[in-house]
């Protein structure tokens, strides 16, 4: 029951959604529309789970209080979480104060973490990207041509770089991407089928 019921629900709803997509039936369409509306509401509830997990982990860290720095880090995290929540719930997310903290902390924080990967690609370029065989050679030459085609200096060096770069993207790359897309599409359907049939149930978590 604890395993079978969820699997049965997944199967029935999945099949219903698929049939509603392909068949012109008002009953099916209405049912699928309400279900999707429900799923939005459930997904909205799910957004809180990450916060509960974070609060659990960091409250524990503070309670243990092993390291003064740990205390500071976990405290900062909880301050950010509760601070934003309180402002957001009382004033709404479009409020000026809310946007202030969003723009002052969240935007630069995440944007910079991602930006740092520009450095990592440079050091990997020097230390790790080797023409160790024909395939890696093809890959790196294609990469170099696309890079030179992407930027103005490439065009300044040789006017044909952008032409070659966009040909590589629009012809050989297109063929490869289309092949992979069809393969991945079939793989995705197989994966979905395994979910609907209850063969793949990792999303249900462990336990009985």
């Amino acid at each position: 029951m604890r395993r079978e019921l969820p699997i049965a629900i997944t199967f029935v709803l999945g099949v219903l959604i698929i049939l509603a997509f392909f068949f012109d039936s008002p009953t099916l369409t209405n049912a699928s529309q309400s279900l999707q509306n429900w799923a939005v509401i459930i997904a909205a509830f799910a957004l809180g789970i990450a916060s509960v997990n974070l609060i659990q982990v960091h409250a524990k860290k503070i309670a243990r209080g092993q390291d003064r720095l740990d205390w500071l880090y976990s405290g900062a995290l909880l301050l950010g979480l509760f601070g934003m929540t309180v402002i957001g719930l009382f004033k709404g997310p479009a409020d000026q104060m809310y946007q202030f903290w969003f723009n002052a902390l969240f935007t630069p924080g995440q944007a910079t973490v991602y930006a740092m990967t520009g450095f990592y690609i440079a050091s990997a370029a020097f230390r790790a990207f080797r023409i160790r065989n024909l395939e890696a050679g093809i890959l790196l030459v294609s990469a170099a041509l696309v890079m030179l085609g992407n930027v103005s200096v490439g065009e300044a060096l040789w006017s044909k770089f952008p032409v070659i770069g966009s040909w590589l993207v629009n012809v050989p790359n297109l063929a490869a991407q289309r092949g992979m897309m069809i393969g991945a599409g079939i793989g995705g359907i197989a994966g979905g089928l395994r979910v609907l049939l209850g063969i793949e149930k990792s999303y249900l978590g462990s336990g009985s």
Binding site: F21, T29, Q33, Q36, N37, A39, V40, I42, A43, A44, A46, L47, G92, P93, A94, Q99, F102, N103, F106, T107, P108, G109, Q110, A111, V113, Y114, A115, G118, F119, I121, A122, S123, A125, F126, R127, A128, F129, R130, I131, L140, A144, M147, L148, N150, V151, S152, V153, G154, E155, A156, P162, S166, V169, N170, N173, L174, Q177, R178, M181
Partner: protein, 277 residues
């Protein structure tokens, strides 16, 4: 010399990349910008729309990806505002609507009237399901806008009850849900023209959709933004960044070549430290 290069501190590499980006930003060279075909296609599509036409701009991105998309998103908003198109904003990442607020404020829409010329409908949870749900019932999915107004009462929404009432959807996309989800739930089944401002990593994956017509245009990362800025004759962040792109690309290529040369010379002279036999 060889030994020194082999044990080059990574921080020196970081410094070179930093300089290759910072110097051209502070002292621009002004290299010419080329315009990609698919960017021109999107420009021409928007250019041909009559004033007042509604266009959906969906911010499906987080601050991490938006760093790459801001210039393109603002360029397209500027173009839409100058053509007096109605901008219907929304987002399927929880960070989308807040970024959209900043983008509206940084574009020509800032001089227009909220609720009449543009609107931010906010966020809908659930990824692909949310897009599908919105496609079936646009107003029902967004009863209130991001600022808390009644959506139905807004003038900008006049005549729009369904996603099929808009002339174009532009998704500013950096992940999932993103372009494949929009194509699956809106573009293909409802035949709504779809275009995207997209992060560079995903540009090669988009070519099958472009060639098949499932996407009608695309602004690839900063290069696309610079091209779009040239098309609408409004220089912005994209154009300003392209010299730095040039120099940093050269730096990366230099490091790949140097790394391989050092490696293979080291291998020949048997000095490669900790290397494979």
């Amino acid at each position: 010399m060889l030994a020194k290069l082999q044990s080059l501190d990574r921080r020196i590499i970081y410094l070179v990349v930093f300089l290759s980006l910072a110097v051209p930003l502070l002292r621009p060279i002004g290299l010419p910008v080329s315009i990609a075909e698919e960017t021109r296609a999107l420009h021409d599509f928007i250019d041909a729309l009559p004033p007042g036409t509604p266009v959906v701009v969906s911010f499906d991105t987080s601050p991490g990806g938006y760093g790459e998309l801001a210039s393109g998103a603002i360029a397209i908003l500027n173009h839409m505002a100058s053509k007096d198109l109605r901008a219907i904003g929304m987002g399927f990442f929880d960070t989308g609507p807040s970024l959209l607020e900043s983008a509206f404020a940084a574009s020509l829409y800032a001089e227009k009237e909220y609720g009449v010329d543009y609107v931010n409908l906010g966020y809908l949870a659930g990824g692909e399901n949310a897009i599908a749900s919105m496609a079936k019932d646009l107003l029902g999915s967004f009863p209130k806008d991001f600022r808390g107004n009644d959506t139905k009462s807004l003038k900008v929404m006049e005549g729009i009850t369904s996603i099929t009432d808009v002339a174009l959807v532009v998704t500013v996309a950096s992940g999932t849900p993103g372009i494949p989800e929009w194509i699956r739930q809106v573009g293909d089944p409802l035949k709504v023209p779809l275009a995207t401002v997209v992060v560079a990593v995903n540009v090669p994956n988009m070519t099958p959709y472009l060639q098949s017509g499932q996407l009608c245009g695309l602004i690839p990362s900063m290069k696309g933004a610079a091209g779009y800025e040239a098309l609408i004759s409004m220089k912005g962040l994209g154009t300003a960044g392209m010299d730095a792109q040039s120099m940093s690309h050269l730096a990366i290529l230099f490091f790949v070549v140097l790394g391989n040369v050092v490696h293979y010379i080291g291998k020949k002279t048997g000095k490669a430290g900790g290397d494979k036999e």
